[in-house]
């Protein structure tokens, strides 16, 4: 209580300082007067009495100061005075303040923006209840497409009974449905989940209820739970959405609730449904087929169990299964299951890119701080006189240090403030980048911890800067003032420090430039990859007519759909400017996940050799010409290759090389095979190869072409309909007319991915382009800062050596010689910086190997180009101070103090 009262009085005192001070003066004066009067009364003469009284007082000024200390908040007041002083000093040198503020803004802003992404995507605890107890299970095998196989229902059953470390296993099957709404059809990405899903995941509803075990199995009503994001975006956060019926895949589905915001893995989803929406998921195919793997699983560890324990138990279960079902686990493929903490699985794809960016930002900060340190050191020299005077007037080293700290803190806070502005813009850009890599991108924001991070950075940088400056040591300075020195000699220590900083700047710039160069070359290489289509003037679009259920259950619907696709194709082909229009699914340059084992007649697999697993694609007779895919051998499909005629296929170059090396595949026969065919409408009949098509980059420009088998559009179910339109020029302009035709024929169907080949390529290149652009702009920034740094240090050195240069000149050194002297000084720094930078880059670029395509991490061309560029810029930066040195007039220089 007392303390509080005193504190309040002190705080009040800090504000009523002026009035109280006058009052105190009066009081002290009255004390003095009374004492003087007393001495006079005792018989002293008034002057002596006054002197005596003053002597006894111990000094009025000192007393007033002591009272002030007691009355207000002296520490804060002193800091306030320092702040006031620092602000005045900074205002006096606006150029310095602006350069330092901006440099730090770049460094701090970049770090804050990227840190907020790293935090949101990798570091923040999961919103799930006890999210650190969740694990993701991944089954993988060797061979293409084997990186993540998912699980089959029988496998999940075996894991459920055989792994005591897992308290619950949530099943989740990625699926898409078409929502037929008032505003037309849209594709909705959903997860089909078991009733225990939300319980295992530890998620709660914000509205309504979530699915529960009663929603499992056949014969229940289809229900859906909206994700928070989809609810906000699609329904505007309407709380009346619960109970509403939506038409998904032509079935009525009831919205039962909205789940709390949370990331979904491995794909973002709009809603989660019970399995009943998909006949397939309840069919014997799904429930009995051990190799029918469509289910992702996330499990919760039992209390006390560890990830390693779960991993061991899962491995034991799998060893048993592999012995029991050898046909489902071909030893050649090395089936295995990894147990990964869920939060780690969520960050998997983003981790490398994000740490790259964080590293780059840290490098930029290093360069920025090095530059600011140099500027402060140079400014410090000009201020030495001031510091000496202050020290002589009694400011201790601690006081001077505090003053510097406050000044530097103001600078770094200015930097943080400006950097915060940059970060706000940067975060938006980065969040859209992160969306490609992480389901947690929605959690990225500039929040308290990020602000704290910025403040911490500011304080750290300010501290560092304050302790770099050398202060006049106590004592030993009066002599300098007496000697009339206006500055201490630039000490060797400081010069070495400055040069060290320049070397660091150059080295770090080289590392950044090397990274930027490699990523830029990656991007260029990628954009140069030939897609396999002979022309860029191709427009593709996908039109969905049948739901999977209709496709399987209703042959008549399939025939009708094919007729409508053909109708669209004919009308579009008749549009002016169209050279050819084809049908096929999926359209070129899009990957297909329909893959089966394949066998070739007269060719047996070597022991341990895996059967090829090509993609199944469909094409009509015009498809190859429309897409510009060359037929290397044989013929395209013909109108006569109909449902009733001989079964034919066209294979791509990759498959031909694999199955029939150095042979002509045309006329040979192949057939789909494998256990899984039983569950599909695809027959294992022999099919004759009639042609070989060129490879296309369907899995993205950076992925090797996969083996493909094309079946005639009419000899396969209409698993999807893609239109491929080729024009003589400006094919993009055809999109509206083509879309109108499709709309007229099938008014409610979903039209997707209306894209030209350049647009598809761009989609594949753009993440790399963004990487390259980000790192390049940071690299460029670094180089500019480094160039300014080296020029500044040399200029400073020149001005410090003006006298010496004057003497050299008057002794006969010509301007060329002086220039060379300064250039040599800079050249040494440049050379050391380059050498250490190239060495550093050699190691640093290995870390980004995974982000490169078509270049090795130590690509000599890039390294050479980077070194040359840095050298050129460095020499340019040295030239300015060198010229200035050469213009020194000896007569003036020698007279200068």
């Amino acid at each position: 209580m007392r303390f509080l009262r005193t504190a309040l009085a002190r705080i009040a005192g800090a504000f009523t300082w002026h009035r109280a001070d006058a009052d105190l003066q009066d009081e002290l004066q009255s004390h003095l007067d009374m004492e003087t009067a007393e001495y006079v009364r005792r018989g002293m003469d008034p002057a002596a009495a006054r002197r005596r009284a003053l002597l006894a007082s111990g000094g009025l000024i000192q007393a007033a100061e002591a009272v002030r200390e007691q009355r207000g908040l002296p520490a804060i007041e002193r800091v306030a005075a320092d702040v006031k002083y620092a602000l005045r000093a900074l205002r006096r040198s606006p150029g310095f303040t602006a350069v330092v503020g901006l440099t730090l803004a770049l460094g701090i802003g970049a770090n804050a923006a990227i840190f907020s992404v790293v935090r949101g995507v990798l570091l923040k605890p999961l919103p799930h209840r006890d999210g650190d107890r969740l694990v993701y299970l991944r089954q993988s095998a060797d061979g293409p497409g084997g990186a993540n196989l998912s699980f089959s229902v029988p496998e999940v059953r075996d894991l459920r009974t055989g792994v005591p470390s897992l308290a619950g296993i949530a099943e989740y099957s990625p699926w898409t449905v078409i929502h037929q709404g008032d505003e037309g059809a849209t594709r909705v990405t959903v997860g089909l989940v078991t009733g225990n899903y939300f319980g295992v995941m530890g998620l709660s509803p914000v509205l309504g209820r979530l699915t529960r075990p009663g929603d499992d199995g056949p014969g229940v009503a289809p229900v859906m739970v909206l994700t928070h994001e989809y609810w906000r975006k699609r329904f505007g956060g309407d709380s009346g959405v619960v109970g509403r019926q939506l038409t998904l895949d032509k079935q009525p589905v009831t919205v039962i609730g909205v789940v709390q915001p949370a990331p979904f893995f491995p794909t973002r989803v709009d809603a989660l449904l019970n399995m009943v929406i998909s006949d397939h998921h309840l069919s014997a195919t799904m429930v009995e087929g051990r190799t029918h793997r469509m289910t992702e699983i996330v499990a919760r560890l039992t209390p006390g169990a560890t990830v390693e324990q779960a991993g061991t138990e899962v491995a034991a279960v799998y060893a048993r299964l592999q012995a029991q079902f050898p046909e489902a686990y071909d030893p050649a493929f090395h089936y295995r299951v990894a147990v990964i903490p869920f939060h780690q699985a969520l960050g998997e794809r983003a981790r490398l890119t994000l740490w790259l960016l964080m590293g780059v930002a840290a490098f930029v900060l290093i360069i920025a701080v090095a530059n600011v340190a140099n500027l402060t050191l140079m400014r410090g020299v000009r201020r030495e006189h001031e510091l000496v005077v202050r020290a002589a007037l009694g400011a201790g080293v601690a006081r001077l240090r505090r003053m510097l700290l406050i000044e530097n803190l103001l600078l770094t806070l200015l930097g943080a403030f400006l950097g915060g502005g940059l970060a706000i813009g940067g975060v938006r850009l980065l969040a859209s980048l992160a969306e490609r890599y992480s389901p947690r991108a929605g959690e990225i924001r500039l929040d308290g911890p990020v602000l704290g991070f910025m403040l911490a950075l500011s304080f750290a940088v300010a501290l560092l800067l304050s302790f770099l400056a050398s202060l006049p040591r106590e004592g030993g300075f009066a002599s300098r003032i007496l000697a009339g020195a206006t500055r201490m000699s630039a000490s060797l220590r400081r010069q070495r420090l400055q040069r060290g900083l320049v070397v660091v700047q150059i080295a770090v710039s080289v590392v950044l430039l090397a990274g930027a160069g490699l990523l830029t070359r990656t991007m260029i290489r990628l954009a140069d990859v030939t897609t396999g289509l002979g022309t860029e003037e191709v427009l593709t679009m996908q039109v969905a007519l049948l739901t999977p259920t209709e496709l399987l259950a209703n042959p008549a619907a399939d025939a009708a759909a094919k007729e409508r696709y053909e109708h669209m194709r004919r009308e579009i082909a008749a549009l002016p400017g169209v050279i050819e229009a084809g049908l096929g699914s999926p359209v070129p340059l899009r990957s297909s996940n329909v893959r089966f084992d394949l066998k070739a007649e007269g060719r047996t697999l070597a022991p341990g050799e895996a059967a090829p697993q090509p993609e199944l694609r469909t094409a009509n007779p015009e498809f190859f010409r429309a897409a510009g895919i060359p037929l290397l051998r044989g013929r395209p499909f013909a109108a006569t290759d109909g449902p009733g005629s001989a079964k034919v296929v066209i294979i791509n170059q990759t498959l031909a090389d694999r199955l029939f090396p150095n042979e002509d595949p045309v006329g040979r026969r192949i057939a789909w095979t494998g256990d899984i065919l039983r569950f599909t409408p695809i027959s294992g009949d022999w099919r004759t190869i009639v042609g070989v098509a060129g490879d296309t980059r369907d899995g993205g420009l950076d992925a090797e072409p996969r083996p493909v088998v094309f079946m005639p559009f009419t000899q396969m179910l209409a698993i999807g309909g893609g239109l491929v339109i080729r024009a003589d020029s400006n094919v993009a302009a055809l999109a509206p007319a083509a879309t109108r035709i499709v709309r007229r024929i099938v008014p409610t169907a979903l039209i997707e991915n209306v894209m030209t080949v350049p647009q598809i390529k761009n989609q594949s290149v753009s993440p790399r382009r963004l990487n390259a652009a980000l790192v390049s702009s940071f690299g460029l920034l670094a180089v500019i800062i480094a160039a300014v740094g080296i020029a500044g240090v040399l200029a400073f050195s020149v001005s410090a050596r003006t006298n010496e240069i004057g003497i050299r000149m008057s002794l006969g050194a010509d301007t060329g010689r002086i220039q060379r002297m300064i250039l040599r000084e800079g050249g040494v720094l440049l050379a050391i910086g380059l050498a250490s930078g190239v060495t550093g880059a050699f190691f640093a670029t290995r870390a980004i190997r995974g982000l490169l395509f078509g270049v090795v991490p130590h690509d000599p061309v890039t390294f050479l180009a980077v070194a040359l560029m840095m050298a050129a810029i460095g020499v340019g930066a040295c030239w300015v101070p060198a010229l200035r040195a050469a213009r020194v007039d000896p007569a003036i220089a020698m007279r200068a103090p």
Binding site: G13, S30, H31, M34, E35, L60, A66, Q70
Partner: protein
């Protein structure tokens, strides 16, 4: 000046409070004179010691201050004890006596008793 004493921390507040209790409202000069008299000039208070102590007591609410006319017609700032100040004085005095007794007992010549 071997018989000059430093004012021990905390004791000055006690002396001021006691002075105000005995003499009633008084200005800083009066307080200083009284303390010097009682100490028989072994204590001298300069302003830098006295006034911060007064300000502190005022902040703590043990004394109040107001400007008044003095007996010989000068304006002076008078300090007066508050109720809280009185309680504080009683408390501090008791504590002081106990401490003093204790210290005296400690410092008394050791008796040879066992």
């Amino acid at each position: 000046m071997p018989d000059k004493l430093d004012v021990k921390q905390g004791t000055l507040a006690l002396m001021i409070l006691k002075t105000l209790e005995v003499l009633g409202p008084l200005h800083g000069y009066g307080v200083a004179r009284r303390i010097e008299e009682i100490s028989q000039n072994r204590l001298t208070l300069n302003y830098g010691t006295l006034y911060p102590a007064l300000v502190k007591l005022e902040q703590e609410g043990f004394v109040t201050a107001e400007w008044r006319q003095s007996e010989n017609n000068r304006r002076a700032k008078y300090y007066a004890l508050t109720a809280a100040g009185r309680r504080r004085l009683a408390h501090e005095a008791r504590e002081w006596h106990r401490t003093a007794d204790l210290i005296a007992a400690f410092l008394a010549p050791r008796r040879a008793a066992r």
